[in-house]
């Protein structure tokens, strides 16, 4: 199956011994010139690349307090060293968060600090060379910006911030990553990551309407570009395209239908994900975000709801208001934006949804907290709502739910192994190895509670698990969408399911 060793799943987590350079060869494909240009980056390494890179670093130090403070204050205590899923899965010491940061920090010291300028050896400062640049490209594309290290750092140092800065510097000297930069280009030209044009979207949505009617006998609408709708649904384009994502989309549609609200997708903002965050580019992140504002204005909606998408939710919850606000033209009685899980959970609490849990009795479930939802965003206007709300939705839809071990859920959750712009086939080895800690935790609940399925609210998690589960003795269909569970359980008014249930009880 692979020309590398798939990590073992142990009964209890083991901190691996260091094996230097095991992942030195791992690097994603470089973006070609044609994809760099539209994002405002050079296509190849300029002659004066060193000056450009150092200037860029200086610029970012002045723009981001996080970068300036984090590069200064690390004391090398080692608290983060066993916290990164990529380190645990690969054993490469440069995947320890502090060591990854040091790749940038040692250059920062050399050019920006007194100690590094005059006593480089003493403080571990080095000149920027092509070798260092290659290390940056390799190892800053082995960080999924999941922020787990920042939870455990006594100063909250967040490697995601360092990785974003490093990728921005790399972009500024023409070393962009193909996967991310091509996708951002597609978003600008077509509107979504997968490059699905408007007619294809329309076709898909109509197909889903037919499917729902066949299953339930109810006409549930999945509108596109419908002006005057109350709600704009912004969801990852994977939801229009592949299992298990699309089952989640069916779930949202059924929930909206039962709520009796009018809603629409937009072909212009047919993508929730914002890859601008992955490459650390505020400008691109802002530009991608502005599509959503423009779509909301053009369609005249009153609310914006986001579908199941982890990094998208971080940008939506934490950044959207800053990047593309103020959203004073929307209905201020609702959170702006709102997560579909918040929307559904409110309906459940108000007893507005009829859910038949038995429809999911063929599954025993666990929930994977997606890293960017858990540590980068919130839900429900209460601290920790991002942990409780999705679980409440699952528990309202299913009879059997079991959490994975405490140190692998909530804010200690492990990344799926494919986040932060690494969900590409040219990084398959990294993705498989990075999934190890999550797979190990899943194995625990499988052994203890015979869990059959793992639910998630992130398109990247779902795609990553569909691909990596089989490497660890599971099957790809074990990953499900949370709203897929809702979709299974929901009893639509006037549906065949309703008739059947009520017939039985009478």
């Amino acid at each position: 199956m692979a020309d590398y060793e798939v990590p073992k799943l142990n009964e209890y987590p083991i901190i691996p011994k260091l094996v230097p350079d095991t992942m030195k060869h791992s690097a994603p494909f470089i973006a070609k010139e044609q994809f760099q240009g539209p994002l405002g980056f050079p296509g190849e390494l300029p002659d004066n690349w060193k000056d450009v890179a150092i200037d860029k670093m200086g610029e970012l130090l002045g723009k981001y307090r996080s970068l300036q403070v984090f590069l200064d204050i690390c004391v090398h205590c080692g608290a983060c060293t066993d916290k990164c899923h990529y380190f645990l899965g690969t054993t490469d010491p440069k995947n320890m968060p502090v060591a990854r940061q040091e790749l940038l920090r040692k250059v920062y010291r050399r050019y920006f600090t007194f100690a590094g300028k005059y006593f480089p050896k003493l403080v571990g400062a080095v000149d920027l060379t092509e070798e260092v640049l290659d290390d940056w490209y390799s190892y800053f594309h082995q960080c999924s910006q999941c922020r787990r290290c920042s939870v455990f750092c006594p100063y909250g140092i967040d490697t995601a911030e360092i990785s974003m800065a490093a990728r921005e510097i790399l972009d500024s000297v023409g070393k962009g990553q193909k996967y991310c930069n091509e996708i951002i280009g597609k978003v600008y030209v077509i509107g979504n990551n997968l490059g699905l044009p408007e007619p294809a979207l329309k076709d898909t949505l109509e197909g889903l309407e037919e499917e729902i009617e066949e299953d339930t006998g109810v006409k549930v609408r999945l509108p596109l570009d419908e002006k005057g709708a109350d709600i704009l649904l912004v969801t990852p384009s994977a939801d229009f395209f592949a299992e298990p994502h699309v089952d989640g989309l069916i779930g949202y549609a059924k929930v909206f239908h039962e709520a009796g609200v009018s809603w629409t997708c937009s072909s212009k903002a047919s993508e929730a994900a914002n890859f601008g965050m992955f490459i650390g580019s505020y400008e691109n992140m802002r530009k991608v975000s502005m599509r959503i504002r423009e779509a909301a204005l053009e369609l005249g909606v009153k609310r914006i709801v986001f579908g199941e998408c982890g990094h998208a939710w971080r940008v939506a919850y934490s950044f959207l208001n800053t990047l593309a606000g103020p959203f004073d033209f929307l209905d201020q009685n609702y959170p702006i934006p709102q997560h579909i899980c918040e929307f559904t959970n409110n309906l459940i609490k108000d007893n507005k949804l009829r859910l038949n849990k038995e429809e999911n009795d063929h599954m025993k479930l666990t929930f994977h907290d997606s890293c960017n939802v858990a540590r980068g965003a919130g839900m429900g206007q209460v601290e920790g709502g991002q942990f409780t709300i999705p679980r409440e939705v699952i528990k309202a839809s299913c009879n059997y739910f079991y959490d994975m071990p405490q140190d692998t859920i909530h804010d200690a959750t492990f990344c799926c192994g494919g986040g932060g712009g690494l969900l590409t086939d040219d990084l398959m080895e990294l993705r498989v190895k990075g999934a190890q800690p999550r797979m190990e935790a899943l194995k625990r609940v499988t052994d203890e509670h015979q869990v059959t399925n793992i639910a998630a609210i992130c398109a990247i998690c779902k795609s990553q698990f569909a691909k990596t589960l089989p490497y660890y003795g599971f099957t790809m269909d074990q990953i499900v969408s949370v709203h897929q569970l809702v979709s299974n359980a929901i009893v639509l008014k006037g549906s065949e399911q309703e008739a059947e249930l009520d017939g039985e009880t009478e």
Binding site: D72, I73, C77, A79, G124, F152, Y282, D411
Partner: protein, 244 residues
């Protein structure tokens, strides 16, 4: 005035200026650099009071470190809390009359020096014994520990083995503070102790010791979870809005 006294007078004036001005400049830089996005490590407090409480737990109890590694926490806590008591005890050499509560701290401070040194030695041992920590340690990490251990041992030596003329030492420091230098005793332990302390003061603003003021500026710990309610736009980001 002896040569030693003159040297140490100069050394401490310079060290104090470097420490105060250096740290002030650094703090100014941290304070003036914008935070263009809201990035608290979530879940984060939704109010300023909550943030103050989070920061207090972080600084007073090393909450995050406690979650991540119990050994580092124990040694780190012994060292930092021991050092705090030791520093408070040392206030008696800079105040006349001595503040009443410094007298209360005095007996604890004397033993806290042991905690401080044990903590430091534990942290140092980790730099050799734990392969992950060994990998990330630089020469300056070891030197910093050596410096602090040296300060601890020379101080303990004067408390328990070879007393110095502490009344004269106090007169020296009060003299420094009043700009009328007094003679400094020349016991070797005292010279070493004070020399290392001055060195520590000098390297503070150019080293990782900046973690002390820096933690208060860490956006992942000092921001509220309020992004949906409030825009946090930086000046440089506003310019992007004006451009389009």
């Amino acid at each position: 005035m002896t040569l030693a006294t003159t040297l140490y007078v100069g050394l401490f004036y310079i060290a104090t200026i470097i420490l105060v001005v250096g740290v002030a400049m650094r703090i100014k830089k941290y304070a003036q650099t914008p935070s263009p996005l809201v990035i608290p490590t979530m879940p984060a407090p939704r109010t300023e009071t909550g943030v103050a409480f989070r920061m207090f737990r972080e600084v007073a109890f090393f909450e995050s470190l406690f979650r991540s590694n119990k050994w580092t926490w124990i040694f780190g806590y012994l060292f930092h809390f021991g050092m705090l008591l030791v520093l408070l005890r040392h206030l008696r050499y800079f105040t006349e009359p001595v503040w009443f509560w410094v007298n209360w701290v005095q007996p604890f401070g004397k033993y806290a020096a042991f905690a401080m040194v044990i903590g430091l030695l534990g942290l140092w041992a980790r730099r050799f014994l734990v392969d992950r920590v060994r990998y990330i340690s630089t020469p300056s990490d070891h030197l910093m520990l050596a410096l602090l251990v040296g300060i601890g041992f020379s101080g303990l030596g004067m408390t328990y083995l070879a007393h110095t003329d502490i009344v004269a030492v106090k007169a020296f420091f009060l003299g420094l503070m009043r700009f009328s230098p007094q003679p400094l005793p020349t016991d070797p332990l005292l010279m070493v102790h004070l020399g290392l302390v001055a060195t520590l003061m000098i390297i503070f603003p150019i080293s990782k010791l900046l973690h002390a003021p820096g933690v208060f500026f860490s956006p992942t710990r000092n921001q509220t979870d309020s992004s949906r309610e409030r825009r946090h736009i930086a000046d440089w980001a506003k310019e992007l809005e004006a451009k389009q």
